[in-house]
């Protein structure tokens, strides 16, 4: 691999890695949101019926 090819591979590689890191961070956030949604659903179900109707 020539020196020019190494620099090109590095530049495009950095771009791909940053996009992948962004996806990984988003996946972590999605997992957290899923967990929190589940907790809130359980909390809503645990509320007494009258309280739910009142809002």
């Amino acid at each position: 691999m020539s020196s020019g090819e190494k620099y090109v591979a590095a530049a495009y590689g950095v771009f791909v890695v940053v996009v992948l890191v962004w996806v990984a961070i988003l996946a972590t956030k999605l997992a957290r949101l899923e967990r929190e949604t589940g907790e809130l659903a359980r909390l809503a179900q645990a509320r007494p019926a009258g309280e739910q109707a009142d809002g």
Binding site: G4, Y7, A11, V14, F15, V18, L26, K29, L33
Partner: protein
């Protein structure tokens, strides 16, 4: 008349298809540069990323203006997301630029290029946006302060963009002049496809990030309403 936003799924697939096409055009269609050789291929990723960073900061500033003009709360998250993505693309601009500089000029960075220094100033200005935003309690005050700051930063975009043309900068190359793009038709086509793909990718990222931040905010409100 309302304009329906295209589906995120369609946009994501479009970005993937355009990125594939851009890779083919860059490495199979566009000829090798006679002066810089193979390392010139960095141009097709570095310049579109830099233009996308400007666009994201511009979008953040436009949404900030809308917030100040209409007091619409939703613009706060939109402005914040625009600045956030601008910062990500700003990091990419600086890193890919440094790699290209090393390949072309033999140095990772030079303080004598106005274009480089002004982009760094723009980037650092928007990095400080986050420090300011998270140092203020959430609420209307934070929204207004963040919006004013994001709006001020937009003044740096044309200064950074035109710096190379306003000053006698002999280091950083000027590819787009009044006579048109200084490259062959295939090179220009590859550049346009690459620019379109990165812009579309950034827009997809913007929509996904915004949806995530809105879900986060809604969940916070819901938790406050549900918890005794």
């Amino acid at each position: 008349m309302s304009i329906t936003k295209p589906s995120l799924t369609v946009l994501a697939w479009g970005a993937a298809a355009l990125t594939t096409l851009a890779a083919v055009m860059i490495f199979a269609v566009a000829p090798e540069d006679a002066d810089q050789g193979f390392s010139q291929k960095i141009f097709y990723v570095h310049v579109p990323i830099a233009l996308t960073a400007y666009a994201c900061f511009g979008l953040g500033a436009w949404k900030a203006y809308r917030l100040l003009a209409t007091r619409g709360e939703r613009y706060d998250l939109e402005s914040y997301t625009g600045v956030h993505l601008g910062t990500i693309f700003g990091v990419l601009t600086l890193v890919t630029g440094a790699i290209w500089a090393k390949a072309s000029w033999g140095v990772w960075w030079t303080w004598s290029s106005n274009q480089l220094v002004l982009f760094l100033v723009l980037f650092l200005f928007y990095c400080a946006y986050f420090m300011l935003r998270f140092s203020v309690e959430p609420g209307a005050r934070r929204e207004r302060i963040s919006a004013v700051y994001a709006l001020f930063g937009v003044a740096l975009i044309p200064v950074s963009f035109f710096a190379i043309r306003l000053a006698n900068d002999f280091i950083h190359p000027t590819v787009f002049t009044r006579e048109g793009p200084q490259m062959t038709g295939e090179m220009f086509a590859a550049f346009c496809v690459s620019w379109a793909s990165i812009t579309l990718l950034a827009y997809v990222m913007y929509r996904v990030e915004l949806a995530g931040k809105r879900i986060d905010a809604n969940l916070r409100d819901l938790r406050e309403a549900l918890q005794p």
